[in-house]
Amino acid sequence: MHTILVIDDEVDVRDGIKRVLDRAGFSARTVDNAVDAMQELERAPADVVITDIIMPKLNGVDAIAAILREFPAVRIIAISGGGNFDVTGNQSASITTSAYLAAAKKAGAHIILTKPFESRELIDAVTQVIGGASATASGNSP
């Protein structure tokens, strides 16, 4: 059985993804930030890491780079909500989704997925990444 670690600061997102993965036959764990994720991986390695790249505390892109350094065999699926980084809306220039996704790719993510995605898209992405291919299958174009 393949293990998957889900990193997202939104509890409903984490639980939703975990449930879908569990029903699909995977073993999924969740943490809410990248620091805890490192510790969790040290405790028990995972095959796939699904991580949000826009999070408070630690930049998701940096997290991806850090994880791959430590665990180069891990497959990374980056998920993103788009929009501005500063959720209060004070930033005049928005950082586009495409910019995020490009950064994530550069950091080493294998697949990019944009929120919100459907169960099918999620499972397909996980299956694909486990299969070894690092195609950029995403529900929506950036």
């Binding site: 409903d12 909500g81 788009g82 501005n84 005049s92 928005s94 944009t114 929120k115 929506n140």
Partner: protein, 496 residues
């Protein structure tokens, strides 16, 4: 002569009358006294002289010796002396003139002044010395003629003074009315000025310097007032215009800000929104999967999913919109190709009940725009027009032409893009809000109300302007004026 109802006239005339009524009696009595004294003095002089001459005649001559001569001389006194009584008394013997008035009895006394005694006779008694014995000459001079002369003179004077008073009063009335006429006119005009009528010029013809100067000053004041008034009105108009302009600019600014806010807010919200949508979609899918086949709840949950997907689109559109504005790549663009492509796309999507016409001019200058966004504009306007005509068969017209400066809404040479529909038109209330984000007159579920605000935002980025012409029952036309590029040559090739 003007009516004496003006207070000034009446006052002057009354003053003149009052003054004269005080002075004229004094004058009358003063001059009357002089007249009287002069007449009386003349009378007394005449009486005394005559008496003296007659007495001397008796003293010197021999008349005393003859009664007849005495009588003759006494008669002379009556005739020439204007006497009413003449008597010579010599001891106990007395001769009296028969020509005198018979009723007068001599008094022994002598009068020393005119009207002494009040009997109308001035008695003079003179002693005569003749041949050693004394006699007495008594003459009674008639005062009445003199009194009558005096009275006549006084009456004449009275008449003269009365006539003078009348003339003076009439003159006063006339002069004061002549004076008060310009005053009244001045008052009239200044009252009209006070009540706001500045137009009537103050021209008062008068020879009186003070009034003339006053009129000139008032006229200068009126002029000044007119000038001030005009300047005030001008300032007010300018203020109105600038305020209107400012209001317009503020409106545009607010709209712009709102769009920006919407974009920024949307951007900020999008992240949260998308996060929220994830569990909605995932858990709903799982719930559906767990339902037994044929369950009626499946359809319900299906609708939930559909709504969630649509929500996703909305957020996407907003983000696309705000990002697209920031990413706009402005370059010289040929609108003709943009329009023809957009129309081709639209007519593929639109139902055949809509007739699409084009009116695209040849030889249009290039404009500074982003071809993609320009295409979005055309698409949005066509979509909006289509939705306006949704029930009826309609005609959609898209046109392009060059405009000259001076045409409404185009201060510089421009290329005008217009989209007309034959729909029901809009009320003014709707037109005012039509570019607001999320504003829509359509029912819930039919469109987001973002299309026209997208158009507006894009138009602003291009530095163009957009106008709306509409009337209830007459359809709607949107016109966009793109400033033409100066050195652009009309081209039929797309410049994107």
């Amino acid at each position: 002569m003007a009516r004496l109802n003006a207070t000034f006239s009446r006052f002057v005339t009354a003053s003149v009358v009052a003054v004269h009524l005080m002075l004229l009696p004094a004058l009358y009595f003063g001059v009357g006294y002089v007249i009287r004294k002069s007449h009386e003095d003349l009378f007394v002089q005449h009486a005394r002289t005559f008496a003296r001459v007659l007495a001397d005649e008796f003293e010197v001559g021999a008349a005393l010796d003859s009664a007849a001569q005495t009588s003759d001389l006494l008669d002379l006194a009556i005739i020439h002396g204007e006497s009413r009584y003449a008597e010579l008394t010599d001891g106990s013997h007395s001769v009296r003139s028969a020509l005198g008035s018979p009723v007068i009895t001599a008094a022994r006394r002598t009068d020393l002044s005119f009207a002494h005694g009040g009997d109308g006779i001035y008695f003079i008694v003179l002693p005569i010395e003749h041949a050693g014995h004394s006699a007495e000459l008594r003459l009674g001079f008639d005062e009445r003629p003199t009194q009558q002369r005096i009275q006549l003179a006084l009456n004449r004077m009275l008449l003269l003074l009365a006539a003078y008073l009348c003339v003076a009063v009439m003159l006063a009335a006339y002069l004061s009315s002549r004076l008060s006429r310009p005053i009244r006119r001045l008052q009239d005009l200044s009252r009209s000025i006070a009540s706001g009528d500045y137009e009537r010029a103050l021209n008062v013809t008068t020879g009186i310097r003070e009034l003339h100067d006053l009129a000139a000053d008032l006229e200068a004041m009126r002029h000044e007032l007119v000038g001030i008034n005009d300047r005030l009105q001008e300032k007010m108009r300018e203020k109105e215009i600038s305020e209107a302009g400012r209001d317009e600019l503020q409106k545009q600014l607010r709209h712009r800000q709102r769009l920006e806010t919407v974009g920024t807010l949307a951007g900020g919200v999008a992240h949260e929104f998308n996060n929220v949508l994830v569990p909605i979609i995932l858990f709903t899918e799982m719930a559906m999967a767990d339902l037994p086949p044929g369950s009626p709840s499946r359809a319900d949950l299906d609708r939930v999913l559909a709504s969630a997907r649509r929500a996703k689109n909305v957020v996407q559109k907003i983000l696309t919109f705000s990002h697209a504005l920031d990413d706009a790549a402005l370059a010289p663009t040929d609108l003709r190709s943009v329009v023809s492509e957009s129309i081709a796309l639209f007519s593929a999507l639109a139902p055949s009940s809509i007739e699409i016409r084009t009116d695209i001019a040849e030889d249009l200058p290039l404009v500074r725009a982003d071809a993609t966004l320009a295409g979005d504009v055309v698409m949005n306007l066509c979509t909006n027009a289509f939705q306006a005509m949704h029930d009826a068969k309609g005609i959609l017209t898209v046109g392009l032409r060059a405009t000259t400066p001076g045409a409404p809404a185009a201060a510089v040479p421009s290329v005008e893009l217009w989209v007309s529909d034959s729909g029901p038109g809009m009320e003014q209330r709707t037109v005012d809000r039509i570019f607001e984000p999320f504003f829509t007159t359509r029912a819930v579920g039919q469109g987001t109300g973002l299309g026209l605000s997208v158009v507006h935002g894009i138009v602003q980025v291009f530095g163009a302007s957009i106008t709306v012409e509409t009337a209830i029952g007459a359809g709607t036309t949107f016109r966009i004026f793109f400033p033409a590029l100066a050195d652009s040559s009309p081209s039929s090739e797309p410049a994107v």
